[in-house]
């Protein structure tokens, strides 16, 4: 019996041993707790400690722009017609009056001109998508350069990486939906790329488009992928990503009182609820203002898609620019294979390098932990200078990305800087190989220089700007010793020694040969931590020796 009438008669058996709630709010909380167990959940999380640093907000921007995209996206689906049925436009945008177009394009124009606030929501949706991918990039760079991907966070790194890749593709599918001249050209490019796939290319193309290009199926199919399939997967990954952030607790910078065994910061309630919650509104507000003052993707100006028409300056959204660069700088290699078959290497090779560029950065955590042999948990972040090889690799990757971005915008570079497009394209071909290598070398040396500077600061203190004259006439600058908290922070990083080849004979005197993989690993480890690849931290002895001899350098 659970009805109210039954409670009186069974009063001798109280349902709960809990004390009477003090007020209505507590009573409600008790009721919910009895069903969902919220008290146990809140015990661990309500006052959960989060460390404070500006770079920890980058992930929040990703989360918030994703929420904004979902909210505005749902609104857009109420008006958008994902159909390639032909219609003749008779709306308030007169330049398109009487023009044949698809329902998809016509409804996008209507959202922009007929629905009040529709243009704003469209622009917020598109701006938020650009911010989303950009924030994911910068967030990923933060995690990379500080080594926050190390154990136990490798899997969360992969979740983040998948979110980035899915973000790329959902962005591409999204801006393809209006069926305007620019995005239709993008779909045509995708069709050409699919056709370049050996053996199955034409089959994939026919199945994806429901026949020959463009057919009438591609927009509805992209719509389902864009609003349902990919966002669904992303939402799952995002929740998993956040659960792991809570479960692992946040990383923190080295500093006084901060160890691998604790996390120092302020509690979720109230400080981070206010700060993070407030930050959502800041991000949303800024994107709304951007959408009020800056036009994005004015599809009405491009016109409806026709396969025999094109505009100049055809560019994808920025995050696809590196793929565009790969396709533009590649020489037109087309070879004949297996008696009469055609292999379009000029398109197929870029198609294969595209995922490799992304995977190169995704697998780094596993390569690094293999080279270092480090199986311990890490919660204190590395300063980029203290991991020169990692930092140099990351910088080289960004350099490659930027070279490709220039390659993807070679026509814009040519017209804006009055340069020859051929020269730019040849330069990108060379730069693809040379620039990342140079960037690697320069960044590594730069990091080592900064390490030397840190060492110098620890041992000799900070320049005070005070010049002192010694009795024998020499002028010296007085250096102020650093306070202990700075001494600690600057020496808190670890410096592993490089791996060594195992002894050539084992303990029983039997010869033991190191395999090629072991040798490669030792060589790499030497490159990471060997002599000249990291500057030894100052030791206590060095410090005492220098500080005891006053005024001595």
């Amino acid at each position: 019996m659970s009805s109210a009438s039954g409670t009186k008669s069974s009063a001798s058996k109280p349902a709960s041993t809990r004390a009477k709630p003090a007020n209505k709010a507590e009573a409600t909380a008790d009721w919910v707790d009895g069903r969902l167990g919220i008290y146990s959940l809140a015990k661990a999380n309500l006052r959960k400690i989060f460390p404070d640093h500006w770079s920890f907000m980058l992930g929040e921007i990703c989360l918030y722009s994703f929420i904004i995209i979902i909210l505005t996206g749902v609104y857009l689906t109420l008006f958008f017609k994902p159909s390639m049925a032909e219609t003749v436009y008779h709306g308030s945008y007169l330049p398109l009056n009487g023009i044949r177009m698809s329902e998809a394009y016509a409804s996008t124009v209507n959202i922009s001109f007929e629905v009040r606030g529709g243009l704003l929501i469209r622009q917020i949706h598109h701006w938020a998508a650009l911010v989303f991918v950009a924030a994911m990039f910068v967030h990923m760079m933060r995690v990379f350069f500080t080594g926050a991907f190390r154990k136990p966070r490798e899997i969360n790194w992969l979740f983040g990486f998948l979110l980035l890749c899915l973000g790329f593709f959902d962005g591409f599918f999204g801006y393809s939906l209006p069926d305007d001249l620019l995005s239709g050209t993008g779909i045509r490019f995708m069709e050409g790329a699919i056709l370049a796939v050996p053996i199955v290319g034409t089959y994939i193309q026919m199945f994806l488009f429901g026949g020959e290009f463009p057919g009438t199926d591609i927009i509805p199919r992209f719509f389902t992928i864009h609003v349902l399939l990919i966002p669904g997967i992303m939402l799952g990954l995002l929740v998993a990503h956040l659960i792991l952030v809570f479960y692992h607790k946040h990383t923190q910078w080295a500093g006084p009182g901060k160890t691998e065994k604790n996390v120092v910061g302020m509690p979720l309630m109230p400080v981070y609820m206010a700060k993070a919650g407030g930050f959502f509104f800041l991000v949303f507000g800024i994107i709304a203002v951007m959408s009020a003052v800056a036009t994005i993707n004015p599809v009405w100006a491009y016109g409806p898609y026709r396969p025999d028409q094109v505009s100049t300056d055809a560019q994808p959204d920025w995050y696809m620019g590196f793929a565009e660069g790969l396709i533009r700088f590649m020489p037109g290699w087309e070879i004949s294979v297996w008696g009469g078959h055609t292999l379009n290497l000029g398109v197929f090779i870029p198609l294969m390098i595209f995922p490799l560029v992304l995977v190169a950065i995704a697998v780094w955590p596993f390569i690094e932990s293999w080279v270092t042999g480090d199986k311990r948990e890490h919660h204190i972040l590395d300063r980029p200078r203290n991991a020169p090889v990692r930092t140099a690799f990351g910088a080289a990757w960004i350099a490659l990305y930027l070279v490709l971005l220039v390659g993807g915008g070679n026509d814009l570079v040519a017209t804006h800087l009055h340069m020859s497009i051929n020269t730019i394209t040849y330069a990108v071909r060379v730069g693809f190989f040379v620039v990342p290598v140079l960037t690697f070398i320069v960044t590594k040396r730069w990091c080592l220089g900064l390490q030397r500077r840190d060492k110098d600061k620890v041992l000799h203190g900070r320049e005070s700007g005070i010049i002192k004259r010694l009795p024998h006439g020499e002028f010296v600058e007085v250096h102020t010793p650093l306070p202990q908290k700075d001494l600690h922070t600057l020496t808190a990083h670890e410096q592993p020694r490089p791996l060594e080849l195992p002894a050539e004979t084992d303990e029983n005197g039997v010869a033991r040969k190191a395999g090629a993989i072991t040798k490669a690993r030792v060589k790499l480890s030497e490159g990471f931590y060997g002599e000249g690849n990291q500057i030894a931290k100052p030791t206590t002895e060095e410090y005492h020796e220098i500080t005891s001899g006053h005024g001595h350098h």
Binding site: Q123, R188, F284, G285, V310, A314, T342, E494
Partner: protein, 355 residues
């Protein structure tokens, strides 16, 4: 790599947990959490009051902005254009809605953050971390439970059940794969031919100017011009117009016959009038930039450049082969006609493309 690497990893940095005991031997030891430094609002009640008023002011501005949003929505016509410096002529409604919404949202955020920074406690607190991995007792217990469960299921022992289960689980997704078959037709010979394939010597197809929709005569085409053409009978209103024009579109140029370097190309043309496929052989963009002095045509998408005076040979860019050329002539009334299809498939190359 079997041998233990851990000896190469440094010891964890020595940390002295007490704040007061600072070792004089180790100048780099952790001095512990610094003492809290109070903010102005912590010690000055007037400053705190001021901060409170500032936070509330931002929330009030937000409310006013929302009222402004609703008022703009109701009052401003969707097609009203205004001049706003430095943006230029913009939609008044979009600007008003975006600014009011932006301010309404931003002020909530700014108020909340200001509140947290000035009035909420800023004492830094440490929380313990615990290793993610379970201790050995838990680990062994779980493995034991799993083994018990596995043994009770008999999965390892009853091999027939195991193997048939694996077989059925492997087969069942095939139904899903089969269902995808009707996503589209098989490629067959579809990419091999264009709409010009309907043309025969006895039943030629006229070339029609894309802009005027009129058949073309050689005298209409002046040297140095670029004209786009389609086959006669293909109308914009046709159901499959997009699909047809994606393959049939032509680019007509007229070059002085003496300047045409490729004899075969000259023969396919008519008195120096050459009809090339407009669809780029790289990934299918329509080529539309023509340099009349050099006779080069450039694709605006990826800058593949073709020399139209030399059989549309690729002279720059990522395209892998020349543009296909349609053989043209004139009929008895003097209209330009085609009597057959291109010799090769138009557009981007693909595996089955003959080479």
């Amino acid at each position: 790599m079997s041998h233990d690497m851990s000896e190469n990893l440094p010891e964890a940095h020595v940390a002295s947990h007490g704040t007061d005991v600072v070792s004089h031997d180790d100048p780099f030891a952790d001095p512990g959490l610094p003492a809290h430094e109070p903010r102005r609002t912590d010690i000055d009640e007037r400053a705190a009051k001021r901060a409170e008023r500032q936070v509330s002011l931002m929330f009030v501005v937000s409310m006013l902005a929302t009222v402004g949003f609703i008022a703009s929505y109701a009052a401003i016509d969707a097609d009203k254009i205004v001049y706003i410096f430095p943006l230029g002529h913009v939609s008044a409604l979009n600007f008003a809605l975006g600014m009011t919404l932006g301010v309404a949202l931003f002020c909530i955020g700014a108020g909340a953050v200001h509140w947290a920074r000035t009035l909420m406690s800023d004492h830094e607190l440490p929380a313990e971390r615990h290793p993610i991995e379970a201790d050995d007792d838990v680990r062994n217990d779980v493995i034991e439970q799993f083994k018990t469960g596995a043994a009770e299921s008999g999965f390892g022992r009853r091999k027939m059940i195991r193997n048939t289960l694996i077989g059925s689980m492997a087969l069942v997704p095939l139904s899903g794969v089969v269902l995808l078959r009707d996503l589209g037709p098989l490629p067959e010979k579809k990419l091999l031919h264009t709409g010009w394939n309907e043309a025969e010597p006895s039943k030629p197809i006229k070339l029609v100017n894309m802009n005027t929709n009129e058949p073309m005569k050689p005298e209409d085409i002046v040297q140095g011009s670029l004209t786009f053409a389609k086959p006669e009978g293909l109308e914009e209103s046709a159901e499959d117009f997009q699909q047809q024009i994606a393959k049939d579109a032509l680019m007509i140029v007229r070059i002085a016959p003496g300047d045409i370097k490729d004899a075969e190309s000259r023969d396919k043309g008519f008195e120096g009038i050459l009809a090339y496929s407009k669809i780029c052989t790289h990934v299918g963009c329509p080529i539309s930039l023509y340099e009349q002095q050099t006779h080069h045509a450039l694709c605006p998408c990826h800058q593949s450049t073709f020399d139209l005076a030399d059989g549309a040979r690729v002279i720059f860019g990522p395209a892998g082969h020349p543009l296909p050329q349609l053989k043209i002539t004139t009929d008895e009334q003097g209209f330009l006609i085609a009597t057959g299809d291109f010799d090769e498939p138009v557009g981007p190359s693909y595996w089955e493309r003959p080479r």
